[in-house]
């Protein structure tokens, strides 16, 4: 029971990350690999604030969002000049650099030792009660985040995103500042990614750099692409698939020594199969952008 609640919470954390990444990468197809960096910033802010000054998650949330936004703004001054594969590489290096910082800044992050004894969301003792409250808090967070992303995407701001990579010259010729748009959407996406980070810290109770590697960012990007770029609902479903599948494979009866590898192989094959048969994303006819619509 407690295990299922835990998995459900993790699914929602990934769904939140996918929604944030979708904002930046979905419509624009400006693929970012820095999700885990800002997720990590959120987690570390919560870990430090709660263990050192006893801050509750409600205080950590705005603190984490602000820290993440400030750092995103700083690196964004470089990032906003890049598009296409340069943007991908640029965001990847941000993730790599911040990971090194988390690993080496002993006095603040405790490096590879990580920060432990992070309190739960509320002061409870019953394990199931703790899991249920985690699930509820994260669930509320997910709903709010989805609403924020939906609102942003359905606005005139969201409309501009379609042209950011496809038709930047058209946008500029119509008086729209593409650089500023790229910076805004990057910072917004990064700032919101800190929210699941805060939840992660309080849910797991322990943070260390291994949770925020570039591979985490790749996983988030995989979720967004599987769900269909720009498709928020698709991202939700893909998050379920990507998190639950490897967990479900744990229950396969396999010889101990090879179990882990076989699981990885099945997981990899499943992802490849999705890309082959549903390149437009797991759900929805128009999931991959909207051009998937037959002419």
């Amino acid at each position: 029971m407690s295990y299922i609640l835990h998995i459900a919470t993790i699914v929602m954390l990934y769904a939140m990350l996918a929604a944030c990444l979708n904002l930046c990468s979905g419509r624009t197809r400006l693929l970012a690999l820095s999700t885990a960096a800002f997720y990590g910033i959120g987690a570390y802010v919560a870990a430090i604030a709660s263990t050192r000054i006893g801050a509750s998650f409600l205080i950590s949330l705005p603190l984490a969002v602000a820290t993440s936004a400030a750092i995103a703004l700083l690196v964004g001054l470089v990032v906003m000049r890049c598009s296409g594969e340069f943007f991908l590489l640029c965001t990847l290096s941000i993730n790599a650099v911040l990971w090194v910082v988390a690993n080496s800044w002993m006095s603040v992050t405790r490096g590879a030792l990580g920060i432990s004894k992070i309190p739960g969301f509320f002061d409870l003792s019953n394990v199931v009660a703790i899991r249920v409250t985690s699930l509820i808090v994260v669930g509320v967070g997910l709903i709010v985040l989805q609403l924020v992303c939906t609102r942003a995407l359905s606005s005139p701001f969201g409309r501009l995103l379609w042209g950011l990579e496809d038709a930047p010259i058209f946008l500029a010729a119509m008086g729209k500042d593409a650089k500023r748009l790229r910076l805004t959407v990057f910072v917004l996406s990064a700032a919101l990614s800190a929210i699941p980070g805060v939840f992660f810290a309080h849910h797991i109770g322990f943070v260390d750099p291994s949770s925020f590697t570039v591979m985490e960012s790749v996983l988030c990007l995989a979720i967004v692409i599987l769900g269909g770029l720009g498709n928020l609902r698709g991202g939700l479903i893909a998050a379920v698939a990507v998190v639950v599948l490897p967990e479900a494979l744990r229950f396969l009866v396999l010889p101990d020594a090879s179990a882990a590898q076989v699981r990885q192989i099945i997981y990899g094959l499943a992802l490849v199969a999705c890309m082959l048969w549903r390149p437009q994303g797991l759900i929805g006819e128009y999931a991959f952008g909207r051009e998937a619509k037959p002419k």
Binding site: P156, R159, I169, A173, M174, K176, R290, E291
Partner: protein, 251 residues
């Protein structure tokens, strides 16, 4: 007539190729200026320099008294210059209507603070421009296509759409690069009607076009250029009867 835009001795080279050489001209308010010239004469380059996409080697340009050279593309556009592209640039993954909506200036909903904290203002503005957009699509014959993806339009319809986008931007000067080249006659007729009506709305245009008969009917004044230079300038009759122009268009 008062001058809307002025161009003073613009020059531009591309590794030895002369695209603009000491080119000067002016556009008056409510004027349609036809720009003729053989392939490679530098017509598109002139548009690219005026809209800030290319920096000239030398020379200057001004619009409503403001210097254009050195200003970023989107700021030039916001002064009131809109253009179409020879190789059409539209956002193909969104609908015709969305392309037009996107082109309106000063939308409160482009700012996220307004999106979240002043939704009423955004909604009212959006409703207003939606109505205007539909009204602009009507004379272009694109009303029925409003909710189709821009990618599903024919070439001629895409050209119409890019002009409608310039109208949505409510620019005072439209730079139209071969607006009727390669499209069906009835579609061309529509486009010419829209262009000819621009002065009535207080707008000016520079129109690049190879179709002499078409441009003759709508231009108030014409310039013929070759190898980046202005060869002659005057009323359509004067320019079209100039021996140098006749020679260029006969071979």
């Amino acid at each position: 007539m008062t001058s809307l835009a002025g161009i003073q001795s613009l020059s531009k080279h591309f590794n030895g190729v002369v695209a603009l050489a000491d080119f000067s001209c002016a556009v008056a308010e409510r004027e349609i200026l036809g720009l003729l010239g053989p392939n490679g004469a530098g017509k598109t380059t002139l548009f690219n320099v005026l809209t800030g996409l290319l920096a000239p080697d030398s020379g200057s340009a001004s619009f409503k008294g403001q210097a254009l050279v050195g200003r970023p593309v989107h700021k030039i556009a916001n002064l009131g210059i809109a253009r179409t592209f020879q190789n059409l640039r539209l956002i193909r993954r969104i609908t015709v209507l969305e392309n037009v909506l996107l082109c309106f200036k000063n939308q409160p909903g482009e700012n996220l603070l307004n999106v979240f904290f002043r939704p009423g203002l955004c909604k009212r503005h959006e409703d207003g421009i939606r109505e205007k957009a539909l009204a602009l699509l009507e004379p272009a014959g694109l009303s029925e296509k409003a909710h189709d993806l821009a990618d599903n339009l024919s070439y001629g319809q895409q050209k119409l759409l890019s002009i409608v986008c310039c109208l949505a931007a409510d620019a005072d000067l439209l730079l139209l690069d071969e607006p009727i080249a390669g499209i069906a006659p009835e579609m061309a007729e529509r486009i010419l009607t829209i262009i000819a009506d621009l002065p009535n709305q207080g707008k000016s245009a520079i129109v690049i076009e190879h179709d002499i008969d078409a441009i003759k009917g709508i231009a108030h004044r014409m310039i013929f250029m070759d190898a980046g230079r202005k060869i002659c300038e005057g009323t359509p009759d004067e320019v079209l009867n100039d021996p140098r122009v006749i020679e260029a268009y006969l071979d």
